[in-house]
Assembly symmetry: C2
Homo-oligomer: 326 residues x 2
Amino acid sequence: MTENNNEKTYTIYSIANLPRESINDSTGLYQIPHLQMPLFTDQGEINTLIPDEFVNTIINGDCEQVLKAIPDNSIDLIFTSPPYADQRSATYGGIKPDQYVAWFMPKAKEFYRILKPEGSFVLNIKERVVDGERHTYVIELILAMRKMGWRWTEEYMWHKKNSYPGKWPNRFRDNWERLLHFTKEKHFKMYQEEVMLPVGDWAQSRLKKLSETDKKRDNSKVGSGFGKNISNWVGRDMVYPNNVLHMATECYNQQHSAVFPVALPEWFIKLFTQPGDMILDPFNGSGTTCVAASRLERNYLGIDINQEYCELAANRIRSEMLTRKG
Amino acid sequence: MTENNNEKTYTIYSIANLPRESINDSTGLYQIPHLQMPLFTDQGEINTLIPDEFVNTIINGDCEQVLKAIPDNSIDLIFTSPPYADQRSATYGGIKPDQYVAWFMPKAKEFYRILKPEGSFVLNIKERVVDGERHTYVIELILAMRKMGWRWTEEYMWHKKNSYPGKWPNRFRDNWERLLHFTKEKHFKMYQEEVMLPVGDWAQSRLKKLSETDKKRDNSKVGSGFGKNISNWVGRDMVYPNNVLHMATECYNQQHSAVFPVALPEWFIKLFTQPGDMILDPFNGSGTTCVAASRLERNYLGIDINQEYCELAANRIRSEMLTRKG
DNA sequence: GTTCCGCATGAATCGATAG
DNA sequence: ACTATCGATTCATGCGGAA
């Protein structure tokens, strides 16, 4: 970001509509065009940009500032993994754990404004260990979010399948992360059929022959009121998943390693959006969320304060698209 | 519990040293001896009981009251699963979510007093959904515990492989629970070798083809420091586990079924105690914690407010011991 | 013995309707 | 308007007896 009196300009990396001849034959990547785009007028007012300017782009800047140019209620899904407290300090400045909530909340305010009422905000986060204890900034963040008006609808669990074994004197390797699901409203858009799974092996033998109790509604013995009719399941080959996601961590290439695999945003994009919907990652990093959105034919906007990450992300999406086109 | 002026008596189910002739041949179970034991004197003072009276017993009463008779710093591990808010209301009071922290904290105070400085408190809990949102009583509990002096050392995750089916318009079924690990001190007893695992698929698929880039990349990762030793794992047949526990809930065909499998307390008992150590479950329920302790030759004390559960637990441990003796 | 197969069981939550 | 009740929804596992 460059600042010049009241005029702030952000570098925008546009992925769509890129001329075919800009492919660099030696690297196999597109050249990156830098569109210089004023976000504020000389009077310091927000430049009224048509939303198209933001569609399928990566913007280099502080999301708190850049998002001011995004209209209210315009985003269908926010999926992001913000810099964890005191981590990735080389690129993000290393937010201190005790200041984490204060650092995050002004941004959350903007997220709330731009998210559609029936949209979702999925936050991938995990508290770090400070002085031998799990720090409380994540749970304090949840409480602060609710005070702001967000609903803490669910907490999905990402089980990292392939972490290396490791141990410290007082703990083992941390193999899971939180995926906090916030919404603005009680009713929000969710397309559950899009993430259905093949039924387990148990079904084949289990459903072959049904007992008498299986054929009628059988109430739970503990009085929870939960009953079931197993005969409803005959012939079913797909089942709904649960709130635990088993996914391996993934390294994109030698230059950087992504903090989460593409399959992670893909799952939530399929679950909470439809093709053509608008997805935002305000801490875009290496651009995994945008890659997922691009693959699933959703529109995306990635914002990152680090210019190198922005270039990396734009390149990554472009080569992705090139590969898909064959 | 019966109350008579200032004298309170609790029914204590003693499992050890039971005479062999008390086996009931028709039921195959021991007869339950009821030892009536005054915990308070006529003056309302605590009866100074020798600790032996509590060893390997199940006591029917409110843990907050019963624990007043237990000396300071005398328990090595507390493992428990308290009644969740609004759940199990048939047997427990059915604590309202908004009152949960206030209900729990006086008990936590007693737990703190009786736990040895280097001991551990493992709390199995999960927040329920209220009005379409995850209620915040569990995370508020964590904050209240820290205010009391507890250290929130770790949060293990129990992935329930076979939880009750269900899907709703706004969520999938909940397949995980928290295992909050609290300690009094930064340094506590942990016997990590006791829970090591045979090398599984992980090592076969991953360790064998460790490339130079793998080693380099892990070295550069956020400074955790163990990456540099990754090649040390090659050739080992046992590895340390991580903080995700994959366990199915046990389903007994005919009798009751417990809320967690024996393997769950077993894992933490092996990790945090040695044979002969003293383990407490203040919300004993069907006695799974005590079964695990008994199997692993630790001493135990189970407390539950529900008499039927106490009888069930005592019977369960007795038949367990009988089976083991052959 | 060992494998196979039948069967009982479980910390749930939502929306509609009734009081 | 608020609260209580009720019907609808959905898998995977271990045990025990049979093959």
